[in-house]
Structures are given as structure tokens and as C-alpha cells.
């Protein structure tokens, strides 16, 4: 039992650090792309509440949404938001990483209002079944 608790504590701290690293790397790349003119809109990743019905075996208790928001520049159309979502979902390495770090929802939002798109991450990567009592 002590072993298990210790594992959970270690795992939690590792995950927190990795989650922050993913968000930071995304924001840094988005900033560079916007400044250099590759991207017409500044994207910003953040951690959101997520959708509780999208849970999977790696899901965190809280804050399970990976949200990308279009900030400055021009306002994105719905098709563009869907396209950004598809680009992310097509990158199997990124989706797998998001899943193992406890995210279960991908959200792409525009600059203003509650308008946005949402995807269930586990639909895009086949997750093996693990023996929890191992």
C-alpha cells in the first residue's frame, strides 16, 4: 500500500512537470510562428476543465481539457478551428502524449465567446487494456 501511494505521489509530480512542459513548448512555438509570420493568428494552449464523460484510464481527476485558443490576429472561422483540431489529432505522438499525461478532451476556441469545438482524445488512439492490480 505504501509502495502504491509513493508511486502515485511520484507519478503525480512527474505528470505535473510534463504537462507544464507540453503547454509551454506549444505556446513558445506558437509565439515564434506568429512573430515570424508563419501563422496569421496567435494560438495559446492552456489547461481547462474538460468533459467528464470523455474519461479514460489515464484521465486526471480535475482539469482534463487541453484548450487551444486563437488570441490576436484575425478571427478564425469554424472550418479553420476544425482544421487546427484535425492537425493535432493527426499527430499520433502528440495525442498519445496528451492521453498519458491525463488529458481526455481537446478544445479549440475562438477569440471571443463560448464558441469552439471539442474532441474526445481516446477516439484517436487505440489504448491497450492494463491490469490495474499488477
Amino acid at each position: 500500500m505504501l509502495d502504491n501511494t509513493w508511486n502515485n505521489i511520484l507519478g503525480w509530480f512527474n505528470d505535473r512537470s510534463e504537462r507544464a512542459k507540453v503547454v509551454r513548448s506549444f505556446n513558445e512555438s506558437a509565439r515564434i510562428a506568429f512573430v515570424s509570420g508563419i501563422a496569421p493568428t496567435l494560438l495559446k494552449a492552456s489547461i481547462s476543465k474538460g468533459e467528464s464523460s470523455y474519461k479514460h484510464q489515464f484521465s486526471n481527476w480535475l482539469n482534463t481539457g487541453f484548450r487551444i485558443q486563437a488570441f490576436t490576429g484575425r478571427v478564425l472561422k469554424k472550418e479553420e478551428l476544425i482544421h487546427i483540431g484535425k492537425v493535432i489529432l493527426d499527430d499520433s505522438n502528440l495525442v498519445r502524449r496528451l492521453i498519458v499525461l491525463g488529458w481526455d478532451t481537446l478544445e479549440i476556441h475562438g477569440d471571443e465567446g463560448p464558441y469552439g469545438c471539442r474532441w474526445q482524445l481516446k477516439d484517436y488512439i487505440p489504448l491497450p487494456k492494463f491490469n490495474e492490480h499488477e
Binding site: 509513493w6 512555438s29 505522438n93 498519445r96 491497450p128
Partner: protein
């Protein structure tokens, strides 16, 4: 006689004080050394004992965290892949090489790869280069 007694007593007192102080300092030093040794031993034992368990789930997680992610390509693809894909799918379509069987086969292979990687600018640029070299297409 009295004077001598007082002198002897004072000397004994000073000597006693000196001995007591030295012993106390030594005791403190050994105590801290023992605590440090205990700490090191406890750390080594606990480190081995409480190492992260290597379960299937943990293994899957570690494998997933190993791969590098090219965020620059993802952001570039988010805004520029549609245009590049549209250009490539027209220029590399196998129907553009109906007479040359060899080129038709290469075009078909490249076209399939283009369709598969339509949201990946980096891969599309590689395919564009391949098309220029193998199919002699001018973009």
C-alpha cells in the same frame, strides 16, 4: 598553605572546565556524523524500495513520453497545409501521366502519401521535393 590550596583548587577548576568543553564538542561532532550516516543509509534503502513500479501502464506511459513532438510543424500545418495539399493533389495526380507507366506508378504512390499526410506540412514538403525529382514537375 592557604594560598597554595586556593591556587591548586583554581587550577583543578580550570582544567576541569577545559576537559568538559572538549568532550562536549567531540560528542556533538560524533552525533552529527552518526545522523548523517543514518540519513544516507535510509535514503539508499528507501530509494531502492520506492523506485517507480515498472507496470505495463507505466511502460506504455514512458514509451509515449519518449518521442519528440514538433510543435512548430503542428502550428505551421494548422494554417498552411490546406494550400499546399491542394496544390500537390492537382500537380501529382496519376491521371496526369497516362502514357508513362513508370511515372504513373510513382505518381500514384506519391499521391497516396499526400492524401495520408494532408495535415502535415513537413511531410508534404518532402513529397513535393520527391515529385520534383522523380516526376519532373514544375511548381
Amino acid at each position: 598553605m592557604n594560598m597554595n590550596d586556593t591556587l591548586i583548587q583554581s587550577s583543578i577548576k580550570v582544567a576541569k572546565n577545559a576537559i568538559t568543553t572538549e568532550t562536549e564538542v567531540q560528542t556533538n561532532w560524533w552525533m552529527w556524523l552518526a545522523i548523517a550516516e543514518f540519513g544516507i543509509l535510509a535514503f539508499l534503502i528507501l530509494k531502492k524500495q520506492f523506485k517507480l513500479k515498472d507496470t505495463d501502464k507505466q511502460r506504455f506511459k514512458n514509451e509515449s513520453l519518449k518521442d519528440d513532438i514538433d510543435f512548430g510543424n503542428i502550428i505551421n500545418s494548422s494554417f498552411n497545409s490546406i494550400q499546399l495539399y491542394d496544390e500537390l493533389k492537382v500537380k501529382c495526380h496519376p491521371d496526369r501521366f497516362p502514357t508513362d507507366i513508370e511515372k504513373n506508378l510513382i505518381a500514384e504512390k506519391i499521391f497516396q502519401e499526400i492524401s495520408k499526410n494532408k495535415n502535415n506540412v513537413k511531410r508534404l514538403l518532402d513529397l513535393k521535393e520527391e515529385a520534383i525529382q522523380k516526376l519532373n514537375i514544375n511548381f
